[in-house]
Subunit: 152 residues, 3 copies
């Protein structure tokens, strides 16, 4: 099954790609790698999910936010490479959780992105990653994730 069909079967729809309001781009290719900018959790209605995980929202809500970030990343990736089936490997996630100094459950939050990628891409979706706590993120977004992808 094509990746986009799998997304559909999970009830997920790629987001319209928004041009960043600054001098940078959402994604670019260099050799076989595609680098993706830090993305935030955008709902289907375009609203950003904001707040500190474990304080303004539960870990489960943080997990869901990370899943939405993965969807945003895939939307930008699709715009860059035209076809998500060109993905040879999800190489790396850098998963930043907006939280307070006493929050220690970052992996459970970033799993929201990791789980979606493995659901979609199987073995090719198994990536390296880091998860950590940020004292603040742009526009108070709950989660921000950067991604590197290898394409065939």
């Amino acid at each position: 099954m094509k990746i986009e069909n799998k997304l559909q079967s999970l009830g997920l729809t790629l987001l319209p790609v928004v041009k960043p309001i600054a001098n940078y781009v959402p994604a670019l290719k260099s050799g076989h790698l595609v680098f993706l900018s830090g993305h935030g959790p955008v709902k289907d209605n375009g609203q950003l999910i904001t707040g500190k995980v474990g304080y303004d929202m539960s870990i489960d809500e943080g997990y869901e936010a990370a899943r939405r970030v993965a969807l945003a990343l895939l939307s930008s990736l699709k715009a860059e490479i035209n076809d998500l089936d060109r993905v040879a490997r999800i190489v790396k996630l850098f998963g930043m959780v907006n939280c307070r100094p006493d929050f220690f459950e970052h992996p459970k939050v970033i799993n929201g992105a990791s789980d979606l990628l493995v659901e979609l891409f199987g073995e090719k979706g198994k990536h390296t990653r880091s998860a950590m706590g940020m004292n603040s993120l742009p526009l108070n977004m709950a989660v921000e994730i950067e991604m590197i992808v290898e394409i065939a």
Copy 2:
């Protein structure tokens, strides 16, 4: 116009490259990519710009600090590749803002680096990036940025 001449026309001068006082290097090439260490905002007199953006200094001062970081990065890049006109693409910036938990304007700060790179390199200067808030940075520097560059 050569990149270094453009820098000059903006009133900017490359900084003398300082060897890190530890077991690491400011920049290194691997294949077509040049990886640059996290750099801080150094004034022409060699002084580091310190403090938390949005608290010890304004967003505009943070923007200026980020611009100085970009200059420091370009100085190390020039030392590594000899000629800034070899840049094929600025691939990625990782822009860390020293701030407090209630600061949400990181993109406006990191724009100081992004804007300079696009002023200098045009389309080749349009990069992917992440911006985020750090609760502290080395020596209390206001901004720290990492960069990846593709060379021809």
Copy 3:
């Protein structure tokens, strides 16, 4: 001398590689680069070193924690590439220190990892790096480090 023999002569033993309890992997190859997930400081008995550096523990203890992270990274690297002597260059470290907002000595902490890598690999061990302060890390680990390595 083989790298593993050097490790032994420093009294260090590679750690058993633990499978991450989530949908990600400790390391993966893409072209000539090996990307490693963020790793934490694990003692020989498997216990994680936790706490905020400069508050719950001294800078020297933080340095030792960073050294243990480097050992954990090398353990995962060995599992991925079979032979540590295949390392052509340590490319980059991303060194996150769990600390409070008034801590400024991150480089002294991350030196624990950098020094070990240069002890082991000599010139090939000289890497680019960033060091910064995180307000929190997974499971309250004291230090988390990501690494990129070039292999021959």
